[in-house]
Point group: C2
Chain length 398, copies 2
């Protein structure tokens, strides 16, 4: 049996793939789907997320994005969701095709990402990014400011130009984790709602996990869950995000992100919009239900998930510069999550130093995007890409 | 019997005074203590709240502030609260005397308000206000920027000068309404948790209220409350804030205010701080429990209590300019309330046009400050000041 430590989008995707392949698996998490996956905006945007120095990250992202439609279709079916048939979830006044792209109950949409520039420097950076993409054969379109506003009329008049990555998509991460939990339940995969205090070791081998004792105010464990001191396993798959470094020697650190959900009576945008404002990237992600997600800060503060005055201020200030109309929207939620950052911004996927330990962590800003690829790599697919993510690259250094 | 329509700080204070005087009274409110009183910051700041053109408002505020210590002491005793004896609630590093001023369970504090100026125009306006105050014999102290920062070291370096109103105070409005509700319960004053759909009239006379039917999802009425179609009364005292105009001919309109509560591990301020930033007034009110209240927007949007991106943005932007350190604080709550504005910014207190109707509304930004005075006026005290608030002033116009 395998034990997956971590019930975020990565851990749940891995467990689901394993269960589909007929392998016995158990997931352990004190609060599944509540960490970085809960805070994430859900951009599936390998092209616009990358800088032109990060070709390996781009290759991983593009490969995982290609897997998303089938991943979403399988998950929708496996979770017993009804695919959304009608246009109900699409923007009322959006361009043709938007509604049809609301593919299923995950609110997966694929209208692309529009990266915009305000100043000459930003514009030059977008030009360099475009040249890099074209060299790699990835589709991007350079747009003037007027063309940007034709696509997205609510953009600020000061937008000078932009870059459309027409293949980029986005999804609602909370629907994804809910679907994964439903699919796992339908396949009778045990979900142990407990923390892991340490990995069990026998000689050099990892042989399972020791569960943390529940806190005193913890509710009783749900029916069917396995509550004990230890869970023995052939493999322990560590997918605990920013918390992974507490359990194994893996160079992952928490990078705090604060994010805001606004409620829009009429959709302001029909696609994801990103831009550099005051030197920091800001993005706006429209949901099918009218929500507009604004993200995200990047803060190196350890395990701190407080929503702060300064964080909200930056998000609001920068979002207003991109799309002034956000000012009128209701604030539905503010939340912070901890991304698992790595020294080279690439995830850490594959065998750990000890036999019996597998790592699937360090996805930083890309956990939702990379979940399908990560699960595939752990099934032995994508050998070339897998080598980019190999944990061995850090062992070689130390 | 009297019926008080409205269970905010004004209506509850009136009912409490009546009950103490031995008069039978019933309070009607669908959700007591949840409106403007719930959102209010609780500044008892007649001096700094006023512009130098508003002498009548200033006189009312000063008179009500004088009543606050006795009002608070009586309320604390009547509600069965234990007055706070120790220094626990005071700022750890505040000036001497701060802790001692935490007078009781209402978190009433009296370290004054510091009004600060950034530009030459602001400074000139503060100078005019100071001259006006001195002419009226009210204590104010003009301070240099350095003197301001000596009092409040967290103030922005760009503060050029200020005005200290040493007699100003503040209180926690949520503790005040909770204490009023407790005191009313101890005196067995009925509290009917229902809306009022209309005033009952017999000929020209107001004879009671008709209760609104409860909404379908409304929980069962609590024990001891009176639920019926009508409540007959000798006098109906309309203290329904911004909702008063829906029940009687009174020129009150809702003025939306958004407010934010930050959580401060160490107190940033030892007194209320106000300033004009970007042409709008912003204030910061420190609570004994470490909260810092930042307020407030002023928006003419009808009965709209949505917390908006633009409202939060303005609060955060302006608070940062006054006290840059707020950036690091956790956001505990954001809330909006509706102040009852009037054409001349003065409250409307006294007999209505119809016999049997008494008005106690239109307190705009000053409901918490003015509650003791309002209750006193309705007991026949403060004749001179009462004439300033007389509802007749609007009848004479029309």
């Amino acid at each position: 049996m395998d034990v997956v430590v971590g019930g975020g989008v990565v851990g749940l995707s891995i467990a689901w793939r394993l269960a589909r392949a007929g392998r016995p698996v158990t997931v352990v998490d004190p609060a599944p789907a509540s960490g970085a996956s809960h805070a994430a905006a859900g951009m599936l945007a390998p092209v616009s997320e990358v800088t032109y120095t990060e070709e390996p990250l781009l290759r991983l992202g593009v490969a995982s994005l290609r897997r998303w439609p089938a991943f979403a279709a399988d998950l929708t079916a496996d979770a017993g969701l009804t695919p959304a048939a009608g246009p109900a979830a699409g923007p009322a006044a959006g361009p043709a095709g938007v509604s049809a792209a609301v593919r299923d109950g995950l609110d997966l949409r694929a209208q692309g990402t529009l990266d915009v520039a305000f100043g000459a420097d930003d514009l030059a950076a977008l030009g360099e990014l475009a040249a890099f993409m074209e060299k790699l054969g990835l589709p991007v379109e350079r747009l003037t400011g007027r063309e940007c506003r034709r696509l997205e009329p609510m953009l600020a008049p000061s937008v000078r130009g932009g870059l459309l990555a027409p293949g980029d998509a986005w999804v609602d991460p909370r629907r994804v984790t809910a679907a994964l939990l439903a699919a796992l339940e339908r396949r009778a995969v045990p979900l142990v709602r407990a923390g892991v205090s340490e990995l069990l070791r026998d000689g050099g081998r990892v042989t399972g996990v020791r569960l943390a004792p529940p806190p005193e105010d913890h509710p009783a464990a749900p029916e069917g869950s396995e509550q004990g001191d230890e869970i023995r396993a052939e493999r322990v798959i560590l997918a605990a995000g920013a918390w992974s470094a507490g359990l194994a020697d893996v160079p992952v650190r928490p990078v705090k992100g604060q994010i805001m959900r606004l409620r829009s009576p009429v959709p302001l945008l029909s696609r994801c919009v990103r831009g550099m404002v005051h030197g920091a990237p800001v993005y706006l992600v429209p949901r099918g239900d009218g929500e507009l997600v604004v993200g995200a800060t990047q803060e190196e503060l350890g395990f701190d998930t407080r929503v702060t005055a300064g964080g909200l201020y930056e998000l609001l200030r920068d979002a207003r510069e991109l799309v002034p109309g956000v000012t009128e929207l209701e604030v539905a939620e503010v939340v912070a999550g901890l991304r698992p950052g790595t020294p080279d911004n690439l995830p850490i996927i594959g065998p750990g130093a000890a036999p019996g330990l597998v790592l699937a962590t360090g996805h930083y800003r890309g956990g939702v995007l990379m979940a399908p690829l990560t699960a595939a790599i752990l099934q032995g697919e994508e050998g070339d890409l897998a080598s980019l993510c190999s944990p061995a690259r850090f062992r070689d250094i130390s």
